[in-house]
């Protein structure tokens, strides 16, 4: 059951990226270029996704447990620290440079492989650096 839901979630999420054209860095950079030739279509994507999500959390708040899993595992962290700000800031710079965030970068492996392999290769190295750094500081 977990496998079926997870695979279906990946498929439909990817289809959502395709319909919204987040798979295309030209569209994403056009959306971020508010001072230039601005393409606002991704506002519709974010607003409709968040709109559905808000309804989803209203349903969640009336339930004791999820329908398949035994307990909720929604992030509960509340504090805003320098890691959150610096990490998000660096992510935004990388996103603005190429127009790829992680999901669209993965879909570029097939849609635009001449770019996707460099981006995802480096993304894996970047995640790995953080993983090793985390491991070292936990010792």
């Amino acid at each position: 059951m977990y496998a079926l839901i997870t695979l279906a979630a990946g498929l439909v999420f990817g289809l959502g990226l395709a319909f919204s054209e987040m798979t295309n860095p030209t569209v994403v950079i056009g959306f971020l270029d508010i001072l230039g030739d601005w393409n606002p279509s991704l506002i519709i994507v974010m607003a409709s996704a968040i709109g559905v999500g808000v309804i989803g959390y209203a349903i969640k708040n009336k339930r004791v447990a999820p329908m398949v899993a035994s307990k909720w595992q929604i992030p509960t962290l509340k504090h805003i620290d320098s890691k959150l700000i610096i990490g998000s800031g660096l992510f935004g710079i990388g996103w603005g440079l190429s127009g790829y965030c992680p999901g669209p970068g993965l879909t570029a492996l097939t849609n635009n492989p001449n770019e996707g392999f460099y981006f995802i290769g480096a993304l894996i190295v970047g995640s790995g650096l953080h993983f090793l750094q985390n491991k070292a500081t936990q010792k």
Partner: protein
Amino acid sequence: MDSIFNPLVGGLLIGLTATVYMLTIGKVIGISGILSQLLFSKERFLPFLFIAGLIIGGSAYGVFTEQTVPFPEVRSPWLLIISGLLVGYGTRLGGGCTSGHGVCGISRFSPRSIVATLTFMATAIITVAIVN
């Protein structure tokens, strides 16, 4: 903007997926987190299925869905590598990306995710303004 149909359908599909996944499995969908589970955790099967599904679903772009503008001309590998390093390291340090913070986090009004989303939107907009 010629049509709002495609972005509307795309956003609804993304929101519905995140919602159904959350209400059944009880977790948020964060692509950077799921990818790092695939790479660095011991439970790799489910993250693998999700990422494989994501790539297959995303491959529908331009085949079953509209493509309004062409892809950019293939850019310098160095630009892509620097971008990938920043996205990989930054999303892990900040605990999420466009999906985890931007969609799932804002949907539950998480202050952390709202701050994270405002931060990465701001630095991305500044970066594009400088590069262009």
